[in-house]
Structures are given as structure tokens and as C-alpha cells.
Symmetry: D2
Subunit: 343 residues, 4 copies
């Protein structure tokens, strides 16, 4: 059994980790920390876990964490980087669900997150945990930077086109839509139901923090910088991301369906749907899958890729468990067999 700790378990990625890990056959949950809720039974805050998780939230404790085989950090940006050196030194591996280790360039990190990086020397070691790109590196990693939700959907949708050299990488458009759980479990007026229900809007059009992360991943695949317009929107629903991706291709004759199917053959969590499909976010609700479909409207030179994920699963906690499975030599889909909840 793998001894697991969670730091910062009171948010939505925290409770989702708990849902998945509580059913994982190879995991023993050892500790879950929260400064604000220390002492409270986890199942009191999250009654869906009654009868399944008996732990209480505890104050962060170095020894207890160091005793774990792996620690998931589901903390606000900037917290995990303060703990990483010590935790890794104790031999514990670490999967960070925040953004602390996603950008390789500390200057870029500082520009977008507004604080200097606490351990830039670890940025090089950290493995960006998108298994469909970095599977082998993840297996060996001590420190995994779990990708952001939008970056997961956008990269999985664009990568086959870019890796094959088919897309004009100077003019990519990612029009993305997310449910409100993406904003986290924190008291705030804009995500009240009376504010975000029954309404739709774009936000952060001038620049969202996931932009540099996506650009970094696409540039690595392209071998050079990319031009990307990224517009996120808030959908009046709880879970789900839908990415609508636009790319211009030079070769109208390319068999894109075959390209995508080949790229993702054998991938346990990427599903290339049949031609003509329109994936719905509910088809992945609660499941770790990314479902993709391809269109080339009016047989033109614009490819439209539709990609859906559950932002809390493949976009966060599920992908983190997938990475854990890789790191510890378990079957990649261990504990991730949930069928999406439809309707």
C-alpha cells in the first residue's frame, strides 16, 4: 500500500482526490492537512465521504508528511514551492496540483503569479505531468507538476496537429468554457449562484495564467514559439471544460481522424470519437477521460477540435492519481475506473 498525504484538502481538488483515493485499491490515506479546519472530521465538511474517509483534518506536520510515500499538494499557488525542498529531501515524492512547478522559466512564473519563485532549482527537475506527453519522465519523477485544467484540454486537442506539423502555429485560437468549480471553493461574490447561474460570460480576456502554460507546452511540441489567442468563459454548471480549438492547416487532404486515432492509440484516457461527433461535458463528468472530436467545416482549411474533460478529474485530481500510478509502477488506470455520471 502506498502511504499518501494531502496538503490542503478543503478545496474541490482536495475532496475530489479523496473521492478517488478512497476507492483506490493500493492507497492508504495517512494524513490530510488544513490549517483552517484542523480537528474537523473530513466527512463532516464533505458528507459524501461519510463511511468512506475516517480521517480528521490536521495541522500540517513535517514528520507526518515525511512519513508518506507521496504527498499531493492541493494548496493555493505559492504554498507548495515552500515545502518542496524539505519534503523531497526526506524521500517523499510530491505531486503539486497548483501552478508552482508548471512553468520552466522562473521569470515567467514571477510575471504571471506576482511573486518570486522559492526554489527555481527544482523547476528543471519537476516533470510536467501530462502522461500523454511525458509518461516515461513521470515514472521516474520525484516531483510532478500536475497540469492546469484548461492546459490539459487545449494541449490534448492541439498536440496531434502540431506534432505532425500540420497547423499554422502562428494563429491558434482556443475558445474555452469551464464550469464554476474551476474557481475553487472560496467565498467570493462573482461565483455565487445568484451571480453566475443562468448567465454566461468571458473573463480574463486580456491574459489568463494558463496562457503561458499552454504556450510552453505547444511550443515544445512545435519546436518554436506559437501564437495563441486564449479566451476562457464561465459556464453556469459545476463541472466540465469544453475547449473549442481553431487551427488553419496547409494540407486539406490530410486524414485528421486517422492522425488523432494513431496519436492516441493505447492511451487509456483519451478517446477520439467517431467523425461528426459533438462531445458533451457530461460524458466525462466524474471520469478521467478526455473525449475529442474533429471537424473541418465546409471542407475548408480551418480545423475545429472539440475537447471535453472534467476539470476536477482529468483536469486536476484524476490526472494526479494517474501520475501517482505511473510513479509507483501501478496500472495506469488503477482507481480510475469511474464511469461518467450521465445524466
Amino acid at each position: 500500500m502506498i502511504k499518501v498525504g494531502i496538503v490542503g484538502g478543503t478545496g474541490y481538488t482536495g475532496v475530489e482526490l479523496l473521492r478517488l483515493l478512497a476507492s483506490h485499491p493500493q492507497v492508504r490515506l495517512q494524513t490530510i492537512t488544513s490549517r483552517s479546519e484542523a480537528g474537523m472530521p473530513v466527512a463532516e465538511l464533505f458528507p459524501n465521504l461519510r463511511g468512506r474517509v475516517d480521517l480528521r483534518f490536521s495541522e500540517p506536520d513535517r514528520a507526518a508528511l515525511a512519513d508518506c510515500d507521496v504527498v499531493f499538494t492541493a494548496t493555493p499557488n505559492g504554498v507548495a514551492m515552500g515545502m518542496a525542498r524539505e519534503l523531497l529531501a526526506s524521500g517523499t515524492r510530491m505531486i503539486d496540483l497548483a501552478a508552482d512547478f508548471r512553468l520552466r522559466d522562473p521569470a515567467e512564473w514571477e510575471r504571471w503569479y506576482g511573486m518570486p519563485h522559492a526554489c527555481p532549482e527544482l523547476l528543471e527537475e519537476a516533470v510536467y505531468g501530462l502522461p500523454e506527453v511525458n509518461r516515461e519522465a513521470v515514472r521516474a519523477a520525484r516531483l510532478v507538476a500536475n497540469p492546469g485544467c484548461y492546459p490539459t484540454a487545449v494541449q490534448l486537442g492541439f498536440l496531434p496537429l502540431i506534432e505532425a506539423g500540420l497547423a499554422d502555429t502562428g494563429r491558434l485560437v482556443a475558445d474555452c468554457k469551464s464550469g464554476v468549480s474551476g474557481a475553487g471553493r472560496k467565498a467570493a461574490v462573482p461565483t455565487l449562484m445568484a451571480e453566475s447561474g443562468e448567465s454566461f460570460k468571458a473573463y480574463a480576456v486580456p491574459g489568463h495564467r494558463h496562457l503561458p502554460e499552454i504556450r510552453q507546452g505547444l511550443a515544445l511540441a512545435a519546436g518554436s514559439g506559437v501564437g495563441l489567442t486564449f479566451v476562457p468563459h464561465l459556464v453556469p454548471m459545476i463541472r466540465g471544460i469544453h475547449a473549442t480549438l481553431y487551427a488553419t492547416i496547409a494540407d486539406r487532404g490530410a486524414d485528421l481522424q486517422a492522425l488523432f486515432e494513431r496519436r492516441y492509440a493505447g492511451e487509456p484516457f483519451v478517446d477520439v470519437m467517431p467523425p461528426g461527433s459533438h462531445p458533451e461535458t457530461r460524458a466525462v463528468r466524474g471520469a478521467n477521460h478526455c473525449r475529442l472530436a474533429l471537424h473541418r467545416p465546409q471542407d475548408g482549411d480551418v480545423v475545429v477540435v472539440l475537447a471535453v474533460i472534467d476539470n476536477l478529474v482529468k483536469g486536476a485530481a484524476g490526472q494526479a492519481v494517474q501520475n501517482m500510478n505511473l510513479m509507483f509502477g501501478l496500472p495506469e488506470d488503477s482507481g480510475l475506473g469511474q464511469v461518467a455520471l450521465l445524466p
Copy 2:
């Protein structure tokens, strides 16, 4: 033109007052105060008012308020009672949308609201602004206590039965459901969309602050105390209250439909629907109506009254405007001609 001031205009009853008053033919909005947003244009916070309301939020200013003919207080409980004496002394009339003047007994107020009453001598003068009960008193009032949202729906539904002496007043049940805007526009975790969307729950079953207000109103009609079980629930929608009311009647032969129609004949905002109806909250969304329907299942001795209102209109701002119309001798429905938004 009536010169109107609003104190505390940044909440949902505030913006709803603005929506209604902006179209009222007899009103000039003079001032709207908010300590937290002073200086900000109202239409920046509430873009639905762009082009319709040019005011900015201002710091509360005694002289500016005293210059108004009437001031609406849409403040947290306990604020209005601190301003009432001075405002009334200056000749300004006052309609309080909070709970400060709803309970006649200051000890009861202190018990439920946890603070001593600041001006108990005004409790006797204050008129409980349910026009269907106190129309004449409202016309003459200096100070109106605008009813709570649940109390409006529950009283309108029970009153005909109680006034006619038909109901067993010792065993009333009010099972009520409200949209999330009833919780107000304040940062809080439980009313986040990710918390209250796609879910349903009861709350405050041990005791809700609207309980003593409802009991007071029903007892006045009954001529003695009543036994009432009141259970409020939170519905994953924004606007609307649905009250499902249960009463046992002694006389199964009574023509309840005729009773209700007679009681509310001529009432501009109470609609007794045809026998067999099931009113929907959307049939009053944005409108000042209460729609009612009566059932006596299986011809038994239990009467089920169904009552719907928009909690922000007939349950708050609309009823306040209705009261203002009465106080200033205007047609009672002036500025309240909105047709409910369906779908």
C-alpha cells in the same frame, strides 16, 4: 415627483429597487448610498442599469437623505433602526426592507436577532407593510416595515383560511422553498454555485428568523397564538419562493375556492388561480404578483395551499414600491406593470 433615497444599494433588494424605480413614472432617484462602493457608478456594479441609472454610490449623508420624501433602507438587520428617529424627525418617510421593525415585541426581536432594539418606541408606530392586510394603515404611515419574503407568501396563503375560522391553527405546516438570491449578495461558501447548484436541502429547521414574523401575523388574524411548523429549503435557482401550506379544516363542505377569490377580489397583486392549478415560480419572475392555488387531496380534511412569489419583488422591492405608492397616494400598481419573464 417623489424624491427617493436608497440606503444600502449594493445588495439584491437594492438593485431590484433600482430596476423598478428607474421605470417608475413618479419617482426621482436622488441618492443611493453604500459605504463600501462610494464613488462607483451604480451601473458599473449592475450593468443592467447602464443607460437607465446615472447615479454613483455615495457615502451616507444625513442632509441628502433628509431632503428625500422617502428613504428605502435595504441594509443588514440592525442598521435601519439606528437611523429611523432622526430621519423621521426630518420629515422623511421610511420603508425598511430589513427586519428591524417587523416584530412588535422588542424582546422577541432581541431573542431572534441577537441585539437589543435601538428604538423600541417606534415599533408601535411602524406599520407592517402587507397591503392586503394593512392597506389603510400603510397610506398614513411614516414608517413601514416591509415584510420578509417567506412571511409574505405564507401569510397570503394562510390568511383566508384563518380569518374565516376554518383552519385548525394549532397544527399548521409551511414547507417553503426559496431561490438562492434570498441569501443575499455577500461572499459566502454555502451559496457558491458549486455548492448550491444541482442540489436541494432544508436549512434552519430548528428555527428561522421568519418564524416569529409569520406567527405574529397569523396570530393577529386568528385572534390567538398559532402552532406552526416552518421548514425553509434552498432551491438551485436564483429567484422565486414556493410555499406549500398544509392546514386541517373542520368543514369539508366549505367552498375554499370561493373563499379565496372573495378575500382577494380587487387585490391588484394576488391572483387566485383556477381550481386544479399548480403555480410555478417562473410565472411571477420579475413581477409583483403572488399566485395561489388550492387543493384538498382525496377530498380529505387537509387543505394544501400553493403560493408563489418572486422573493425580490413581492417578497421585497416590489412590495416596498407598492407600499410607497400607497403612502404617496399614487395608483397602487404604478411602476409595477412588469409581466413575468417566462421562459
Copy 3:
């Protein structure tokens, strides 16, 4: 492995059965029928099942069904009773998720369902599949009548009070609220999102088909007929039932919390929450649990029981799988380990 067939698999109980059975370790799905969709891959209609269910819908075929160990009928009312005799004669056991075998009195069935019963002689044999009441009988049953969704929640909430002789059974009130999936997956205007979204209403107040089913179950527990007012409501959400139950008790000193905890001790799927709790439907979304809480407001003689279930799981497909587990000697919670999806 148990060989399983499903008749009528295109509705919501059908897809939910598939979700649960696809992960059940002891089940082999053999056949799933649908006249209207015969030939279509199941996963094309329900893309959440892609990669998990490879079957196609097929025309109902007697031999194929007779070859199953158990057949679930998830058909419109009146269909299963036409197949039961033959299917049972072939040695196949049967779990009906419709209402065909729920009422013991064929005259009562005809009154509420508007057609004569096709095999009244089987009504006596059929076991009402509420395991918390009929566990032993279910184990031995050839034919199980799976309870309705409202009846499951209402009975689980009232039974401890009635069995203990504490409640006045002449004056019970069940105010129930259901998500829209309860109306089924059929083209209809009233359950369009534009009709039932952002609105709340009661329906079928004069008499709902679940009323005789609930009365039958409570009367059996009480030892005599009961007086019940049952009012169902439609909630703008997809899954979940919340029952708010009112009963008058003679003995105010009774320890109701202890009574309920004792009654349901050892029950794998009934969770009596701590005193003061307000269960939310999302705490059981996708899970087979019923969560209950008890209140006695203002220490009066009215008990308020709050009960939540997922109408498609404990209220339909999950309970059916629970019954199957009992019938085939499997652990009762086999394949039912899902943690509710929150948020």
C-alpha cells in the same frame, strides 16, 4: 458470473443500470433490448459508456432473455407484467423497475394505472424490494418489485417512527421534491430545460401514483391504514429526491435519534446523520445511500424527518442491483461502492 439482461435500456434507469453493472465484478451483461434503437451501439446513445459497454441494443428475444440468470425490466408501466409468466417459467429471475408488481391489490393497481393487471396471480409472489424491510424475502424471490423513488425515501424516513408506534399515523405529511430525471427520458414539453429550469412547482397534488404504494408500505408497518398527504414537487436539477416528512408524536421524551440509529444499525445504505444535520441531495449523487436527519423544532410534538436519495440509484437502479446481490448471495454492496459526486 451472473448473466444479466436488461429490457428497455434507453431510459435513465437503463443507462444507470448500465453504469453500475459495467463495474460490477460478478456480472456479465448479456443482452439489452430496445425496439426503437435496435442495432445501435449502446455507447453511441450514451457516450459515457464508451470503452465500457460494447453491446448493441437488440430486439427483445425470448430465448436470449431466458438464457439470462436475471432480467431487469426498465420498461414503461404495463410491459413487464406481460413478460413475467414466461420469463419466470424459463427459470430466469426478474427485477421490475416499473410499477407493475408494487401494489398487492390488483384493483388498486387498475385504479391508479388505468389498465387491468395481466398476471394478478403473481402479485402475491412478488416481493417488494425494499431490503431494509424485506431482506430475507428478497433473497429467496423469483420476482422482485423494485420500489418507486418517492416511496423509497418516504418509507425509509417514516418507518422507524411508525414501527415504534410513536407517530400519529392519521396525519402524516410527505412534502417531496425531485429532480427532473424522475420524469424519464422522453420527449415532452414540460420537462424541457426552458420550461423546468429556474423554476419550481408542485405537481399531481390531487393524487400521484406513488401515493398508494407509500400508503401500502406504511400501513403494513402500522398494522392499519394511514392518513397521508403526499405532495411532490419538481426541482430544477437533474438528480436527487429530498423528502421532508412531518409527523406528530405523542411522547416528546422519546430519543428519536437513538431510535433511528438502532433501526438502521448495520444497514449498508442508510445513513442516520448526526443531530442537527441538513442532508443535501448532492451528498448522495450517484451513490446508493439514503441519508436521514431528524428534527423536532422548538421542542414541540412535530417531528421533521429529512431524507435524501439519488432517485436513479437508491430510488431505482442502485436498489435493483442491491436486490440482485441479495438474490444471488453476493455481498449486498457488491458493485455499489461509488462515492457520491460532490461538488
Copy 4:
């Protein structure tokens, strides 16, 4: 008073016309037809109209319609074109809310709508009723083709750029999102709340009927054909369209904010919001406004225009009333003073 008839009043554009016209000071509703509901009081089908509309639905009657000054056709595509010749010949003017007269080329109409056009000679006379483009022609029109919902939002968002010659018209992208009321009030599985709630998807990516309508309008402004990728999506909400528009501009120095403000100066229903804004659909819910905002992310050469309308108001019934006002010489905003319902 203008005598008004409505043909096909049982859909969402029908009830919305009724909501607006019931409050219009210059209108007398004379007749409203529906074959399916003939004889039923309008307010029985749409209880929000109780006390405001006393008409019953009637069988279509030529004489009654010919007696109207103007007839709104809110019928399925293909019906209005069968009535137009005769109605116009009788001197009645006509505003079609369906697609029958939107495309100037009858061959294009037949290609997208699958039937030959019944009166191609009227296509030339019909005025495309986008007042911001064709105001003077609308004033004189006998026959107005009321624009589609998506085309209204997309054209208002792109037109200033295209008219000014700033956009690369060969590479336009319109990523559009609509609430479910856009699918109309007809029994269908895909728009059930249990299907479309809590989920998000694209649809009709290979080609939507609004594509040729948008292309026609943009081409007229550009003076030549345009290259447009148009992807519509379904949002789990009832009302509202959000268009996210992408265009590449040659001149990064252009003052786009000033351009848009100049283009729409004096327009009563187009609101160019301040720089940096993110319009929400709820800011126009129930109102006839289109609110627009402009962004040029990272100071690049891609302009992002955000445009919101209420699909049933500016996207249908409200724009139809606006056109009627123009046709009859009334103030353009007569009867269209509704403030959007927020929250």
C-alpha cells in the same frame, strides 16, 4: 392604436412578443392564432400573462389577419412564405420571425432549408430587419425579415471592423453560445433538462442554418465574400447568446474602442461597454440591448469582440417590435423600456 396579429403564438418567440406587446402603449392585440391550441385562453398556456392578455388562441383566419395593420409570423420555417402574398395584397404589413425571407438567393434558401421557396419574387422586396444597418429601408417596408438570433449578435459585433476595412475578412471566427430557449418550445429529447442541464457542447459544427445568413450580411458590408468559421454551442441556461468573435487586423494602431463607439453612437439598443469589460448575458436578460466589448489580447493583431443579447428579445421578439416601431413611425424604443432582470 396599431392593430396587431400574431400567427403561431405558442412558441417562445410568441410568448415573448405577447409579453412585450401587452405593455406597448400603441398596440392593440387583435388576434393570435394556433392550430393546435385553438380555443385555449393564451393565459392558460402562459400564466405569466394572466390579467394582461385576455385573448384565446384561434384558428388562422384570413379575414381576421387581413384586418390587422401588421402581422407577426412566429411560425416554423416555411409557413410564412405561404401566407405572404395574400397578406401583403390585403394591405397588411408583415414581420416574419422565421427564416423565410432572410436569404436573398432562393437557391441558397433551398440548399439550407430543404424546400423550394414559395414566393421568390418577394425576396427582393423583403427588408432584412437589422435596424442598425437598414433603418431607413425598414421604415418603408411592407415585409420585414427579422434576423436570426446568432446573426444579430455576430453581425453587430463584426460590422464596425468590416465596414472600416480593418479585419481580414478571409479568416473570421465566430464562437457562439446560446441558451436552450433557442431550440424552441417543442417536445424533444436533446433539450430536456436532464439532457442539456449541467452540460455543455457544440452542435451543428459542419454547418448551421445561420451561417449563410451571417455570411450574406458580412459580405454586404465587406463588398465581397467572407471566410467565416461559425461554431454554435448549447449553454445550460434558458436565455442569452454570447458571441466571441475573432478577427485579425492589419493596423494594430487603430482605436477600436472609438471606432465602435462612433459606429453605434445614437443607437438606442447597442451598448459599447468601457474598455476591459466582459459583458454577461444576464445584463441583457429580458431587455432589447446588445452589449459589446473589445479586447486585443497581449496587444497582438487579433481582436476579440464579445457581444451579448437575449436571444428572445434583441434576437427575436424585441427586434421585431423595434422594426414595427420603425414601420409605423413610433419612437424606436416604444414598449421596449424593460430593464434587464439581474440577478
